[in-house]
Symmetry: C2
Subunit: 185 residues, 2 copies
């Protein structure tokens, strides 16, 4: 899937191909490449066509994983892109990735006049919001085991591609605890 | 402040008064009134003109506070309004509140054609997203004491109006721990 088929399918069924209000480029990103680093102001928005991306933060000299992105998603250091302040997260390709890229400044310009750009920005931000709220509520109401089962159910095609220690860092538990949970499944 | 002055000031400086793409009503809500309850599908969006609203969730037979809203903010059971599924949060007026209200269905209709509605929805969702991400990162990287100081600094005009036990529930600590922190300030 590419940005235009995504927009046609999920944002506006009347979208006419070739009418994006910003210019896009294609890029291949290698496994373990940093896509957007700590302390850098985010300049780009990405659409993930293949591969998996992790979002991490440094907390008390430890790396915590806040999020994973799977194919068919927009991603970037979103807080930094909105505030235009240096990012406190890092985006890392945890497998080879194929992406489409456009510039945040082009998106911001399009927001001033384009109904399509605003629909896209609104709907994608709603998705990111729902994902964050779900994560907050799940930490308050579910055990690590229940949250692990959720990940398995939500992303059956991709979960085997994420190293176990990264899943543990996302769940906020020790790798040994996750091994115990996995053995019981 | 009302919705139209807010839109003129923060969403679109070219906004001409009297051109909202949805109908609004005014309402007074009494202290301790439930605005939007658990297990109900959210039908309304609110703009808070005065007063304070809390968002709570039931977790392991305990009430946790996820958020407070202060004057000059849009609020509702936002996850429920987006998914149109029964809400797992409750909105409660913790002081007398004056609000403006419009219907989610009117907003959704306006999203199909109105640049202004989409700008408003996008920008307000960006704000909610930034607030959620900040809360997630703060839980990972800051002590309860640092998070309490943040609340004081962010909302100096309102924080005295929130009962201490509610602030403790928002910080995820025992009231006694918060009392200790407050005595040191």
């Amino acid at each position: 899937m590419n940005i235009e088929t995504y927009i046609h399918q999920f944002i506006d069924p009347d979208y006419k191909f070739g009418n994006l209000p910003f210019e896009i480029k294609e890029k291949t990103i290698r496994k373990n490449e940093v896509i957007s680093d700590y302390n850098v102001i985010e300049q780009n928005m990405y659409f993930l066509q293949s591969g998996i991306v992790q979002v991490s933060i440094e907390a008390n000299a430890e790396t915590k994983i806040l999020d994973f992105f799977f194919p068919g998603s927009f991603f970037c250091s979103y807080t930094s892109s909105l505030t235009q302040k240096p990012s406190d997260v890092q985006l890392l390709a945890i497998s080879d990735c194929q992406v489409q890229i456009f510039k945040i400044i082009d998106l911001q310009n399009a927001y001033s006049y384009s109904l399509l750009a605003n629909k896209l920005g609104r709907i994608e931000t709603e998705k990111l919001y729902l994902k964050k709220v779900k994560r907050e509520k799940d930490f308050l109401t579910k055990s690590a085991e229940e949250r692990y089962v959720d990940i398995l159910n939500d992303n059956p095609a991709f979960i085997d591609l994420i190293p176990v220690n990264k899943i543990a860092k996302y769940l906020g538990i020790q790798p040994e605890s996750l091994s115990r949970i996995r053995k019981q499944k």
